[in-house]
């Protein structure tokens, strides 16, 4: 009896063996840093030749919540996320996906190709392209001149708006793909029946389409938000968080504290907060997917 059970256990161990390399990698290089993050967030570790760091409790967090630059970064992260992810990518993605269902094939292919190219481009390249677009002597102002509208030095006066638009440009394709798939899943009988009934566009959207794709909306919002929370390269290339700290979202603030100000402990405390907010969104996302796993 017990030898048989031991045999079963040995077999299930051998069967689980192939998972080992992945688990080791994930433990050492993903779980390890996260645990280390939770540890040094409570120390005064610094970048420059410090013999050893000491435990400082919640001091870093207290400093953060009194630090105007930190609160500024929280606010800008919120603006950046709401503008570019919730409003921009999400709405534009849904609009594109639903227009594509009615559009002619060449237009659909052309638009899809352009929007997806913006998404596939490396982050830094996207940053340069939009830097050029928003610069004082760039394309946007050239167009405004041509339309006889007032020009702006966008990256100087409204940098957070410029980087938000950049993130919309870069990220809309993802929402578009998610919503295209979701709309394709709506049974054809329903769309046809509604069309014959002659319900108006907005009513159809509100009463039929949105309720039917609500799960996709939920997962898309979560994934967009998580992606937006971790944007670094795009903003770094376009503005470096500046001028001053007018476009300094949390990842850039974290980087500045840790490396330009050498406060690794403080920077990590900010990172831990970002990680906690991210985990919260990730849990909501898991909950939405629950039935699929």
């Amino acid at each position: 009896m017990s030898t048989a059970r031991r045999g079963v256990r040995a077999r299930s161990l051998t069967r689980a063996l192939p998972v080992a390399p992945a688990v080791v990698l994930l433990f050492l290089f993903l779980a390890g840093p996260i645990a280390y993050c939770a540890y040094i967030a409570f120390t005064d570790l610094q970048l420059t030749g410090q013999a050893h760091s000491s435990f400082v409790g919640f001091a870093n967090f207290r400093t953060a919540f009194r630090d105007e630059a930190f609160l500024n970064a929280v606010w800008l992260t919120l603006v950046f996320t709401v503008l570019s992810s919730l409003v921009g990518q999400n709405t534009l993605g849904l609009a594109l996906a639903s227009l594509m269902r009615r559009a002619s094939k060449p237009v659909r292919t052309l638009t899809g190709g352009i929007v997806i190219t913006a998404w596939v481009l490396p982050e830094v390249v996207a940053g340069f392209l939009l830097y050029a677009f928003f610069r004082r002597e760039g394309t946007l102002n050239a167009i405004l001149d041509w339309l006889h509208l007032p020009r702006q030095n966008w990256l100087f006066t409204l940098p957070i708006l410029a980087v938000s638009f950049a993130n919309v440009w870069r990220g809309t394709a993802f929402s578009m793909l998610v919503y295209s798939a979701a709309l394709d899943d709506i049974p054809k009988e329903i769309t046809e029946a509604v069309e014959v009934d002659g319900a108006s566009g907005p009513r159809r959207l509100w009463h039929i389409t949105l309720p039917m794709i609500r799960r996709s909306i939920g997962t898309n919002l979560m994934l967009n938000t998580l992606q937006t929370l971790s944007v670094f390269g795009l903003i770094w290339v376009m503005t470096r968080g500046g001028p001053g700290n007018k476009s300094q979202t949390l990842p850039l603030f974290m980087y500045e504290q840790a490396f330009q100000n050498s406060m690794i402990g403080y920077g990590t405390a900010v990172a831990l907060l970002l990680l906690l907010v991210g985990s919260l969104f990730a849990l909501v996302y898991l909950r939405l997917l629950r039935t699929e796993v």
Binding site: R15, P18, R102, A132, S230, A258, L275
Partner: protein, 279 residues
């Protein structure tokens, strides 16, 4: 079909076409800038018709220190990272897909949770950790971190693709005396080759475009991949050669666009829903 309905459909199609073309026009401007500027001898920051065509920008950047070394570094980093990711993911996916166990569900949920964590947030502690264990500024350290950060999504995808290979095909091999390793390599992987290709290409594209990881973990300029070295165009020399920057951007971006086209047909929306896509 009643003709009012048909004409309403035509009207709606024209309206949809017009709407899409407006968005396409707005989205294409930055792309047009990079392409036109790359062949323009006097490129600046706005979209304009080139003052004559030149390949001068390309010949100016196609030099070892500007293009070849960074691209080779990118290839080593992303190639190594992708290889490690795909091998570990295929191995891990096999028992998850084939042998039912009470641990599978919690493991998969953890994996899915990990796919959506903001990796950016842990780069400062990773840096601090790498300084302590002497992995900072090493190719292998960066490759290992790349692999670990891409692994959750790769396992998730790989497991889903593997689930679609019928178990019966393998059972025949088992009765012929093949073990699990043989049946994974000889039967399952060949049958899910398109899926495995998607995982491979996707991991590679994600790493190729990643800026923050090598920016944090590598220090020596000679080791930098293209995603970091491109910033040199904005270097300390004052004047920026926009034409050359554009040419380099085209060279650096082309491989991932081609790879994407290669797998695009298989990337349905269901794929996009399956997990996180982070920039």
């Amino acid at each position: 079909m009643a003709s009012p309905l048909a004409s309403r459909r035509t009207g709606r199609r024209l309206a949809a076409d017009a709407g899409l073309l407006v968005v396409a026009a707005a989205f294409v401007l930055p792309l047009a800038w990079v392409i036109l500027s790359s062949v323009d001898p006097h490129a600046d920051l706005r979209v304009k018709a080139p003052d004559g065509l030149t390949l001068g920008n390309f010949t100016a950047v196609l030099k070892p220190d500007i293009t070849f070394t960074p691209l080779l570094n990118s290839l080593l980093l992303c190639g190594g990272g992708t290889l490690l990711t795909v091998v570990c993911a295929a191995l891990a996916a096999y028992p998850l897909s084939r042998f039912p166990s009470r641990l599978n569900r919690p493991f998969l949920l953890t994996i899915l949770f990990a796919t959506s964590l903001p990796i950016t947030a842990i780069m400062v502690p990773v840096y601090a950790l790498y300084v302590r264990v002497n992995l900072i500024d090493t190719l292998q350290g960066t490759v290992l971190f790349f692999a670990a950060s891409q692994l959750p999504f790769a396992i998730w995808l790989m497991k889903n693709f593997m689930d679609s290979v019928p178990k019966e095909l393998e059972e025949a091999a088992w009765t012929d005396g093949a073990n699990s390793a043989q049946s994974l390599v000889r039967i399952v992987l060949p049958l899910m080759a398109p899926g495995a290709a998607v995982v491979t290409v996707f991991s590679f594209v994600m790493m190729w475009g990643n800026f923050f990881v090598p920016f944090m973990l590598l220090l020596t300029p000679d080791q930098m991949p293209a995603s970091v070295s491109i910033n040199e165009f904005f270097g300390n020399r004052g004047m920026v050669a926009y034409g050359q920057l554009a040419a380099f951007s085209v060279i650096y971006s082309t491989p991932v666009i081609l790879l994407y086209v290669l797998i695009a047909r298989r990337l349905g929306g269901g794929f996009a829903l399956g997990g996180a896509m982070k920039g």
